[in-house]
Amino acid sequence: MHIPDGLVDPATAVVTTAVGAGLVAYALKKSRETLDDRRIPIVGLTAAFVFAAQMVTFPIAGGTSAHLLGGAMAGILLGPWLGGLAMTVVYLVQAIGFADGGITALGANVIAVGFLPAVGGYYLFRVLTRILSATRMSYLGSVAAASWATTVAASALVATFISFGGPLPLIAFPIMIGVHAVVGFGEAVISTSVIAAILGTRPDLIFDQDRLPEPAAQSSEEVA
C-alpha cells in the first residue's frame, strides 16, 4: 500500500509533503521529550524491526499472502510519536533504497500508512482500554480493533489522496476499502498475537505501563 510517484496530483503532493514534514518535526520533538536523547539507537532498531516485521508474510487464503503494515502495532508498542517516526524512516528507506513508494508521494505515505495508524491506532487503543474492563481479553481485543480500524482508515486515506484531483477516480474507493477490510483482519490477528506474546514475556517493554491487563501485571512481578 505504498503510493508510487504519479498517483497523487502535484498539488496534493505539495500539501502532503508539507504536512508530512510537519508531523515528522513534531514527532522528533515529542520523542526527544519522552525518550532520552541519547537513546537514538533504540529508535533505529525499532525502525529496523518494523522493516524486518514487514518481511514476514502471513497467509490470507489459498496461495495469497500479505505482510504486516505494523503502524498500529508500532504505536501501541513504542508510543504514538516514536512509532510514527519509526514508520517514517521505514518508508523513507523503502522509497530511496528500494524504489518502493514514490519520492513525491512520501508525504502522503508517511501520513496515511505511518502516522495515521501509529497515532490513530494508539489513541483508539487507549480509548478502548479505558472503556473496557482491565482484562487480558479486552486488552487484546482493543489491539485487534485498533489494528483493523487503522488499516481500513489508512486505505481510505490513501484512496482519498490518489483520487483528490488525481488520476484515480472514486471507483478505487470501495475496492481499496473492501480489500483492506480483509487485509486488516490479518493485520489484527498478527498484531494481537505479537502483543499477546510480549505481554507473556516482557510486558515491561510496552509503552503504556498503566494499561496492562491484571494477570500480565502480576506475571511481570514474578519475572522480576
Binding site: 510517484d5 533505529g44 532498531l45 518481511m55 528500494f98 519520492i103 498478527i190
Partner: protein
C-alpha cells in the same frame, strides 16, 4: 503487498564502477529527485516530454553499465500500479491518456530511484543526504536502521528456517497467529540489542551527539557540476518547451 524488500544484489551493483557511480551522491540525489518532480508535474498529453525524460533515464542506465535484466527485475515492484493504470481507459473519461501518463510517471519514479540506489552505495547515499542538510536525527536513525536491518533480516531468516524445519506451513488466515510469537521475539531482540548498542556507544565516549559520518571526504568536482547543469538545462527545457 506480499513481496520481500530485498532486491537481490543491489549492494554488489552499487559497489561497481562507472562514470555514474563516480559522481558525487549529492549531484545524483538532486538531479534524479528533480527529474522525478518534473515528470510528476507533467500533464497527460506531454508525450514528447515523457519520452525525453525516459530517454535520459535509459541513457543513465547505459552510462551506469546497469544490466537490463537487473533493472527490469528491480522494476517489477511497479507492476501492480501499471495494472491499475491499465484499467483507467475502461473506467474514466479520457482514461487512455490518463492511464498512459500514470504508467509513465510511476515508471519514471521507480527507474530514477533504481538508478540512484544502484550507483551509490548506501553509506555514500546517506552521507550525501547529510551534506544536503537533511535533519541529522533522521539521517542518524536511518543509518542505525540500515545497519541493523541486515542483522535483523538474518534473524528473521533463521527463525523462519527453524519454523519450517519443524514442519510449519500455513495457507489460511487463521493459521497466521503462529507468526505473532516470531515477530514478538524479533521485537524483544531488537530492543535488547538497541540497549546493548547504546552501552557500546557510551563506552566509546558517546554523550548524545553523533559525529558526522566523515570517514570519507567528498568534494563536488567539475564533472558533478557538469552533470547537474546539463540535467538542469535538459529538465528546464523539457518542462518549458515540450508540454
Amino acid at each position: 503487498m506480499g513481496s520481500g524488500h530485498h532486491g537481490g544484489g543491489v549492494e554488489a551493483v552499487a559497489a561497481g564502477d562507472s562514470p555514474m557511480h563516480r559522481l558525487d551522491p549529492r549531484a545524483k540525489i538532486v538531479g534524479l529527485i528533480g527529474l522525478v518532480i518534473v515528470a510528476v508535474s507533467l500533464p497527460p498529453g506531454a508525450w514528447t516530454a515523457f519520452a525525453s525524460i525516459l530517454a535520459i533515464l535509459v541513457g543513465l542506465v547505459i552510462i551506469a553499465r546497469l544490466r537490463p535484466p537487473y533493472v527490469l527485475r528491480r522494476m517489477t515492484i511497479e507492476i501492480p500500479f501499471l495494472i491499475a493504470a491499465a484499467m483507467l481507459p475502461f473506467t474514466v473519461e479520457d482514461g487512455l491518456a490518463l492511464g498512459a501518463a500514470v504508467g509513465l510517471k510511476v515508471t519514471i519514479g521507480v527507474l530514477a530511484m533504481v538508478i540512484l540506489s544502484s550507483t551509490t552505495p548506501f553509506p555514500r547515499l546517506l552521507r550525501g543526504f547529510e551534506l544536503l542538510k537533511a535533519p541529522r536525527l533522521i539521517t542518524v536513525i536511518v543509518a542505525f536502521m540500515w545497519r541493523y536491518l541486515h542483522v535483523l533480516g538474518e534473524e528473521v531468516s533463521r527463525m523462519k528456517r527453524a519454523r519450517e524445519a519443524r514442519g510449519y506451513s500455513a495457507n489460511w488466515l487463521w493459521q497466521a497467529t503462529s507468526t505473532g510469537p516470531l515477530i514478538a521475539t524479533l521485537f524483544i531482540r531488537s530492543l535488547e540489542r538497541g540497549e546493548r548498542v547504546y552501552l557500546a556507544m557510551a563506552s566509546r565516549g558517546y554523550e548524545g551527539s553523533m559525529p558526522t559520518m566523515a570517514a570519507e571526504r567528498m568534494a563536488i568536482r567539475t564533472r558533478d557540476l557538469a552533470f547537474l547543469s546539463t540535467f538542469a538545462i535538459a529538465l528546464a527545457s523539457i518542462r518549458i518547451l515540450l508540454p
